[in-house]
Every structure is written in structure tokens, then in C-alpha cells.
Symmetry: C2
DNA sequence: CATTGACCTCAACCATGCTTGAGATTTTAT
DNA sequence: ATAAAATCTCAAGCATGGTTGAGGTCAATG
């Protein structure tokens, strides 16, 4: 316990998250807290940074489980170092880029398909590849 | 009932989704089905297109509720027309673009912050704006 | 020293998007 | 005709990311 330890309410206010979320993160093992004499949570300042990192990672599309794993190298007592941050953010940047690429591809496909309604054609890239011909059969193939 | 009506299994196979998903979509009002004499679902071919549209919309990030709303103008019996498709896909393209822009901004912020660990600075754009100074207080401000 | 706000635990609940299973019926194939 | 495969309904379950509430304690204020 140190003089500048933070209560759960203060952390919540400073991080812009509800107290319930902090409880939840703790239950999930993403953050930890000490307790004061009256069993109330007390956090070192490092938690603020940790929570900031959690939120950035969430925006980047990571699940809490993934974030927990990434934070495993940052013991909860100490603040994440620049090296910690670099390691995590670099990896997140990559998966973020992949998501962006996926969505961009989808957008481009949409652009190409918006006017043509080609969703009805067998080779529309937007269309599920499974639904190509339904089955091998003779006669004209009816597409949808 | 027409000769080319499809069973739920066939629709599932052609769309690449489990039968349970089709039941689920029906329960949610996204698709509808007729029944044969033995109470089994029978679908017109239009459903294939409808499901293709649903899946594209999901990839674009829409919830089933939003998709249902968008499909409201396409009565389940008839196939979505090119106009229907244009209306929906154009709107989805826009929200997709917004998501792409959001993620791209985040990526760029990450790029700028990866090396500097600036998550610790009050004005880091990645950092929650709520946590600026904690409170008004005298003396040196300790940031985290 | 009493009240009020902050905090505690634990369980239950919410929303989304499905999946799984039980028990019964129907359809299809041999 | 019979067995296997497909289908039916309905309820319950799962995963994610939390929120809400009850019942009780702690701490700061006047």
C-alpha cells in the first residue's frame, strides 16, 4: 500500500470505464489489485497504463484472452515498458493491417458488384464458393 | 410447392451453412420457408440469393438485426432485384468504409506510437481522453 | 457519530450468433 | 418392408464482454 495507490472508483474515472468492468477484468486475470485493511481494492499507478493498453488492443480487434496472453510478459506490478509496448503494438499492428486488408478487399468486391447485381452469377467473388453449381447435372444450370 | 423447391439440407449445402443456422435465421425472421405435406421446410430458389446477401452483409460488419431491416424491402418470396442489391450494398459499402477508416486511423496512431511508448503521455491519441490529468491538483503532475 | 457514498461478493442477467441434444416424425434407399 | 438418413420442435448450452442487483461493509463528511 502506498500513498498514491488508487481506489477502483478512481481508476474507473481516470480510465473512463465502469467499476464493473474493472472487476470483470480482474476476474479474467487481465489486471490485479492489492487490498487495503478494509478489503477494498488498491491499485498501483501501473494499472492505468495496463488498462490503456487493454483498450487499444480491443480497438485493434483482439479478444480479452489474446490481450491477457500478450500482457503475460508484463507483471502487473510494474508498468509496461517501452519494449513491452513495442512488442505488443507491433504484433497488433500486423493483425490490424490484415483486418483492414480483408475489409478493403470486401469493399472493392462490393464496388465491383454494386451495379451489376452479380451476386446472381456463379463466379461472383462475393458469393460463397460452395454454391457453384449445386450438383453435377445435365441440362441448363439454373443459378440464383 | 414447386418441383424445384429446396430442402433445408440442400440449401445448407449450397450456401455452406449448417442447417441449424438456417433454422436460426428463420427464427430471427431473416428467411422464411414453406412446408411440405410432412411439415418439412421447402424453400424457393430466392432463398439462396437472400442467404448470400446475408453473409456478405455479415462480413461487412452488420448485425443480423440490421440485415433483417435492410432485407425488409425484399419480400421473401421474390429474389432480390438488382435495385434491391444496389440499395443495400451501397449503404453497406459506406459503413464498411467507415470501419476501414477507423481501423486505418488506429493503425496510423499505432505506427506513430510504437517506437515512443507514448502511451504514457497525456496527449497520446491512443490514450483515453478521460485520463488527462486525473484531477486538478498542484505540484508536478504524475502521468502514467 | 450518524449518514451517505464508495466498495465488497456473488449470482444472475443481457445481447449476439449460433450449436447441441433429446425425442419424435418423415423421407429415401435397399 | 425396413432401415438409414433427413427433418421436425423445443430447450438448453456456449463464447464473448460485460451489466445489474441484492445484501452487506467501509470510509469520508458534517
Amino acid at each position: 500500500m502506498r500513498a498514491d495507490d488508487l481506489s477502483v472508483g478512481e481508476v474507473a474515472r481516470r480510465c473512463g470505464v465502469p467499476v464493473s468492468t474493472l472487476h470483470f477484468y480482474e476476474a479474467r486475470g487481465l489486471i490485479r489489485s492489492g487490498r487495503n485493511a478494509g478489503n477494498q481494492r488498491r491499485y498501483g499507478r501501473a494499472v492505468l497504463r495496463r488498462i490503456a493498453i487493454i483498450r487499444v488492443a480491443q480497438r485493434a480487434g483482439l479478444s480479452l484472452a489474446e490481450i491477457k496472453a500478450a500482457l503475460a510478459g508484463v507483471p502487473d506490478g510494474r508498468a509496461a515498458t517501452v519494449q513491452d509496448w513495442r512488442r505488443m503494438s507491433t504484433s497488433w499492428r500486423e493483425s490490424l493491417q490484415e483486418r483492414i486488408d480483408d475489409l478493403t478487399r470486401l469493399r472493392d468486391q462490393l464496388d465491383r458488384c454494386i451495379g451489376c447485381g452479380c451476386l446472381s452469377l456463379a463466379d461472383c467473388p462475393l458469393r460463397n464458393p460452395q454454391d457453384v453449381l449445386g450438383a453435377v447435372r445435365s441440362g441448363p444450370v439454373l443459378l440464383d
